[in-house]
């Protein structure tokens, strides 16, 4: 199966997006958290990820990167969607941080540690690390 072969109609992307925004198992959920916490529009999200509309649609239909394969999953997602992998990784971590700190008061420190641990395990350039440092 190839992600380049077909294109899911907008009607379904929009409906799937609505469902996925409520489910942490989908990347759309974390995009939504990031957008809400940054009051960011869809255009701002696209700009942040340096991705085309088609690429963003693919990401909205994708699952959340697994903790145990975080860097590999993010790399594959970024490659498939033509997105900036560093930005995608930073965005997911930032969204997780916002979500965990909002849902469970007092867990800021734990969430920050978790996110920092992710950075150490990701073989990325300093860009993602610097960006995450700013976010935290």
């Amino acid at each position: 199966m190839s992600l380049q072969r077909t294109s899911v109609p907008l009607e379904v992307v929009s409906r799937l997006g609505d469902l996925a925004r409520k489910d942490p198992g989908w990347l759309a959920f974390w995009f939504s958290v990031w957008q809400k916490s940054n009051s960011a529009s869809r255009v701002a999200l696209r700009r942040k990820l340096s991705v085309t509309e088609r690429g963003l649609r693919l990401l909205l239909l994708s699952g959340t990167p697994r903790d145990e394969h975080f860097s590999k999953d993010v790399g594959r997602l970024a490659l498939a969607a033509g997105a900036d992998g560093d930005a995608l990784a930073a965005l997911v971590r930032e969204a997780r941080f916002h979500w965990s700190s909002k849902k469970v008061p007092g867990r800021h420190y734990e969430a920050a540690l978790m996110a920092a641990r992710d950075v150490k395990t990701v073989k990325k350039t300093g860009r993602a690390k610097r960006r995450l440092g700013k976010d935290l």
Partner: protein, 202 residues
Amino acid sequence: VVKTPDITGVRLRRRLVERDPLAKAELAEEFVPSLTAHLKKSHPEVQQSDPDLIWDAVTDAVFELANEPQKWNPKLSSLATYLKMSVEGNLLNALNKRTRRRAKEVELSDDDGNKEVGANPEELALDRLSINDAMKQQILVAFPNSADRQLLLLMYAKERRTDEYARVLGLTRLSAVDRFATVKKAKDRLKARIRRLGWSLP
């Protein structure tokens, strides 16, 4: 029982079980177009009258399988067959629900007598809410915009479903989050105007 195992489907299922993030997108990319085409062909009347039902049936089937891939047993059918059955079932459920809703609407309409045939829905709502002529006139003056009046009536009837308000505002194509935000804004604006007029909602 399938004679030839659906190797591609089994691989995709395994990746979904392993929570491979790209597997969900691949499931959608691979099956949404064919499932949509299948429903459009097998239910052309629905495609004509209410294509949203088709999109919803396909979306729900794909979302459900992406989240619970174990629901498909490769020993019983191919993935394509399973999904076709799933979308058919979703569509039939939606059609049954629509039929029940319409029957209920007809029932309500019959309760109000034949005078409602061809009448303005706003007038009907006002009649149902037992608003007198003087009040109707005041509403028409205070809320010259028809959409505002319809929203007001929904609020007066204590309607809580955002979709009902969104339908009046023509927001059905917006995402749920945007729909909710826009409807809330419109309701807040009307509430403020009601307060200024010295009125109150029940």
